[in-house]
């Protein structure tokens, strides 16, 4: 879509674009390029000499069990968080959509966690499940579960997952509710007259019409789990115990900071970049499809 009438001015448009382009180039493209460049370098321990090593950093990355562990954790984490938060959000949205009177109030009561920082969400859940003084942590231990997210990989993963799901439900709920409310009521009524009961209507009419929203949310949620959960992991588990909650992003952070191994960290960044590009491309495929839908 283009404007039929525009202004003709030689320099003004460049001046208008300058601030954004400047920030974009200095703080986006230049560092991204640097990341790619650094991923081909190895620095000695004292940072005195650097050597151009082509794919050496990538090679050592892919022979490092810790990296595979981070890949595995990220894959599992994103699957579990996405599936759980989408399911809970869908259930709530379907019920809220039915309720004619309360929908607005429920909406208000359910969407605010969007405004809570992931790090804050992490602290809230840590406090509830702290093993010695947390309300639920104590309960679990009293029930004989031997709950300790500081020492127990499974417990740590579960806690981080719970916080991440809790934080993401509101976002998914909002989109599902909007999706549900945009389905014409006459369609539902027509299906009811055609003899479809509520359950059948949901699976044969509502769910298919909601699938564009669901697909969109799927990619957004994966990106969320990849990147935004950093705050949760950093406050709750610091990637531990024994790397049980170290995701790819957390590993980029910790390798670069603690170890100071910038070459490896950069190589990890580049791989992450490729993943984001892949996810974005996927999302575009979806947008294109939606346009023709």
């Amino acid at each position: 879509m283009e404007k039929r009438t525009v202004f003709s001015h030689k320099l003004l448009p460049y001046a208008l674009l300058a601030p954004q382009l400047l920030v974009t180039i200095v703080f986006f493209y230049w560092p991204a390029g640097q990341a790619v460049y650094q991923s081909f370098l190895i620095q000695d321990a004292f940072g005195i000499s650097t050597e151009f090593v082509w794919f050496e950093n990538y090679r050592s990355l892919f022979s490092d069990p810790a990296y595979y562990s981070a890949l595995g954790v990220t894959a599992l984490f994103s699957t579990v968080v996405t599936v759980l938060s989408l399911s809970f959000a869908l259930i709530l949205a379907v019920e809220a959509d039915k309720s004619l009177k309360g929908a607005g109030i429920y909406k208000t009561l359910l969407i605010w966690p969007y405004a809570v920082a992931p790090a804050v969400a992490g602290v809230l859940w840590l406090f509830m499940f702290q093993p010695s003084l947390g309300v639920f942590g104590k309960m679990l231990n009293a029930a004989g579960f031997n709950w300790n997210p500081y020492l127990n990989s499974g417990d740590a993963f579960a806690l981080v997952t719970a916080a991440a799901v809790w934080k993401q439900i509101s976002y998914n709920f909002l989109f599902f509710l909007a999706g549900l409310q945009s389905i014409p009521k006459s369609l539902i009524e027509a299906a009811a007259i055609d003899g479809a009961g509520p359950t059948r209507r949901f699976w044969s009419i509502v769910f298919p019409m909601l699938s564009p929203t669901a697909f969109y949310l799927l990619t957004v949620n994966i990106v969320y789990v990849f990147f935004d959960t950093f705050g949760i992991i950093h406050t709750v588990t610091r990637g531990g115990p024994a790397g049980a909650t170290t995701t790819l992003v957390y590993k980029v952070f910790s390798d670069g900071q603690a170890g100071g191994d910038l070459g490896t960290s950069a190589a990890e960044s580049v791989i992450l970049m490729l993943i984001v590009i892949g996810l974005t491309a996927l999302q575009f495929r979806f947008i294109e499809r939606k346009v023709t839908y």
Partner: protein, 282 residues
């Protein structure tokens, strides 16, 4: 609804109320904890009814800080978070309005290139270029400054795309009428486009304020001085000592303080928030 089944309606409400309780409980618990004293928590005797140390805890955390960990009054990080969120939100809106205006209302060489340069930043979240960006900010001597905290986060493809989308829906006749009425590009922007964009701008503001307020990784790296910290980082620093020493009642008070501004923004401006969210991210 199509059916009229009272039982189904009750079921809906039950499901929703359970949902609301699960969503709200962690925050309620934090609130209760922030109203109690250290001993009650460390003995694991937290009840579900607020205690009477509320004002005391908040005053302490705001103006004195914790006794054992950071010892910093939290009023400073609270202000920093506010300043950071405001600069990011306003800055993003400002530069995005200008660039969207250029892209929609002018024809010039490299217009498409400029659009794609902005657009492709969607694929470069700060997490994937974290250390090189840090290095640039360090080289520019922007560590521990508001500029360093905000400027690298200010370029936003999302806001530019939203405004571009909105400008494209403004009828062509409006610029034509303006041209005939003798308005140049700048006058058209100020007199017509900006007033018409007010709702979009407000919606964008809500989203970007929350985005700025909730930043974590970036301030964690870029700030070292206590007086440049943000509130979200402040909480995390309170927890760094061994658990037994964590002053949870103060940490929870800080948590509530850290949540309050963005949550209030979302609830007070719910309409704009929903609009901003659903329109930008589609």
């Amino acid at each position: 609804m199509v059916e009229n089944r009272p039982f189904a309606a009750i079921f809906s409400h039950v499901v929703l109320i359970i949902g609301v309780v699960i969503i709200a409980f962690p925050v309620y618990l934090a609130f209760v904890a922030s109203s109690t004293d250290a001993t009650t928590i460390s003995n694991g005797q937290l009840s579900l009814i607020p205690d009477r140390h509320l004002i005391e805890n908040y005053a302490k955390v705001l103006f004195e800080g914790t006794d054992r960990s950071t010892k910093q009054p939290m009023i400073v990080p609270l202000m920093n978070s506010f300043i950071m969120a405001m600069i990011i939100a306003i800055g993003k809106i400002f530069i995005s309005l200008l660039s969207a205006f250029a892209i929609v209302y002018f024809r010039f060489p490299f217009r498409n290139t400029a659009f794609w340069v902005i657009f492709l930043t969607l694929m470069l979240p700060v997490e994937v270029r974290i250390y090189p960006t840090y290095k640039i900010v360090a080289d520019l001597h922007m560590l521990d400054t508001y500029a360093g905290l905000t400027i690298p986060l200010i370029a936003s493809a999302t806001a530019t795309l939203l405004f571009r989308q909105f400008f494209l829906t403004v009828p062509d006749e409006l610029i034509e009428a303006s041209k005939i009425d003798g308005a140049g590009p700048w006058k058209f922007f100020i007199d017509s486009l900006l007033p018409l964009s007010m709702t979009s701008i407000a919606a964008m503001f809500v989203i970007q304020f929350i985005y700025g307020w909730n930043q974590y990784l970036w301030p964690l790296l870029i700030t070292t001085r206590d007086d440049m910290q943000t509130i979200v980082i402040g909480i995390q620093k309170m927890l760094t000592v061994t658990d037994a020493l964590t002053e949870w009642q103060l940490a929870m008070a800080t948590t509530i303080l850290a949540m309050l501004p963005p949550v209030i923004v979302v609830i007070a401006m719910q309409r704009l928030f929903v609009r901003g969210l659903t329109e930008t991210e589609k």
